[in-house]
C-alpha cells in the first residue's frame, strides 16, 4: 500500500480554534469523525474538495493546512 505523503496541521489548527473537536470539524465538512482522525494521523489523503473545505473551516489558505512531503528513503 502506498504511503500517504500529505502532511497536515489540523491538530494545531483545531487547538488554535478553541480546541475544536474532531466531531465538530467532521460535521462542518460533511464527513465522519473517523475520516478526520485518518487525515489528522496522515493515514488518508483527502480529496481536493475536502482539503479546501477543511481550510475554509479554519479560514486559512490550503497550504497552511496541508503540505506534500517527498518520500524519504
Amino acid at each position: 500500500m502506498s504511503k500517504c505523503l500529505v502532511r497536515n496541521n489540523i491538530r494545531r489548527l483545531r487547538f488554535d480554534a478553541g480546541e475544536m473537536t474532531q466531531k465538530t470539524l467532521a460535521e462542518k465538512t460533511g464527513v465522519t469523525r473517523q475520516t478526520i482522525v485518518a487525515i489528522e494521523n496522515a493515514k488518508y489523503a483527502p480529496s481536493l474538495e475536502l482539503a479546501f473545505l477543511i481550510a475554509a473551516v479554519f479560514d486559512t489558505p490550503i497550504q497552511d493546512v496541508f503540505s506534500y512531503e517527498k518520500d524519504r528513503k
Binding site: 500517504c4 460533511g30 464527513v31 465522519t32 473517523q34 475520516t35 482522525v37 494521523n41 493515514k43 488518508y44
Partner: protein
C-alpha cells in the same frame, strides 16, 4: 465507527449464515439425488435463485436488526447514515480486489466445464467462489478501516 464500517460486519455475518444454511439445505437435496437427471439444470437454477433472494432479504433484515440493537445500546435513536469519500475509497479498493478474484473463479469454472464436470459442480464453484470473494472483500474493508485507509 461509521455506518458503512458497521454494515460490513453485518454483511460478513450475513454471508457466513446464508452460505452455511444454503449448504446444509443443498447437501440434503444433493444426497437425495435432486441434482441428477434431466431436470438437474432447472434444480440448480432454482437453488441459486433461492440463495440470491434469501441473501438479499437477510441483508435487509440484518441491517434493520443491527440498527435497532445499536439504537437500544447507544441510546441514540437517530444514528448517522453518512457515507463519505473515505468510505467510498475503501469500498473501491475492496471491490477492485474482488473483481480480480472473480476473474480467477470464472477461469476455474470454465476449466471445470471443459473437463466435463456437472452443471451442479460448475455452478457451485461459482457460488463458493462468490461467497469466498464476499468474505475477502469484507475482510479487506475491515483491515483498511483499522489501518485508517
Amino acid at each position: 465507527m461509521s455506518f458503512h464500517h458497521k454494515s460490513i460486519y453485518v454483511s460478513l455475518v450475513n454471508t457466513i449464515i446464508v452460505m452455511s444454511v444454503y449448504y446444509w439445505w443443498v447437501s440434503g437435496r444433493y444426497a437425495s439425488g435432486v441434482f441428477e437427471g434431466p431436470n438437474a439444470g432447472a434444480e440448480v437454477g432454482k437453488s441459486l435463485l433461492i440463495l440470491i433472494v434469501a441473501g438479499i432479504l437477510m441483508q435487509i433484515i440484518g441491517m434493520i436488526v443491527f440498527n435497532i440493537l445499536q439504537a437500544m445500546v447507544t441510546g441514540n435513536a437517530n444514528p448517522s447514515f453518512l457515507v463519505d469519500e473515505r468510505d467510498r475509497a475503501i469500498e473501491l479498493k475492496a471491490v477492485k480486489l474482488a473483481y480480480h478474484l472473480m476473474a480467477l473463479v470464472l477461469l476455474l469454472a470454465i476449466i471445470a466445464l471443459s473437463l466435463g464436470w456437472s452443471i451442479f459442480s460448475v455452478f457451485h464453484i461459482l457460488v463458493v467462489g462468490s461467497a469466498f470473494i464476499a468474505f475477502v472483500e469484507a475482510l479487506t474493508q475491515i483491515i483498511l478501516y483499522r489501518r485508517g485507509y
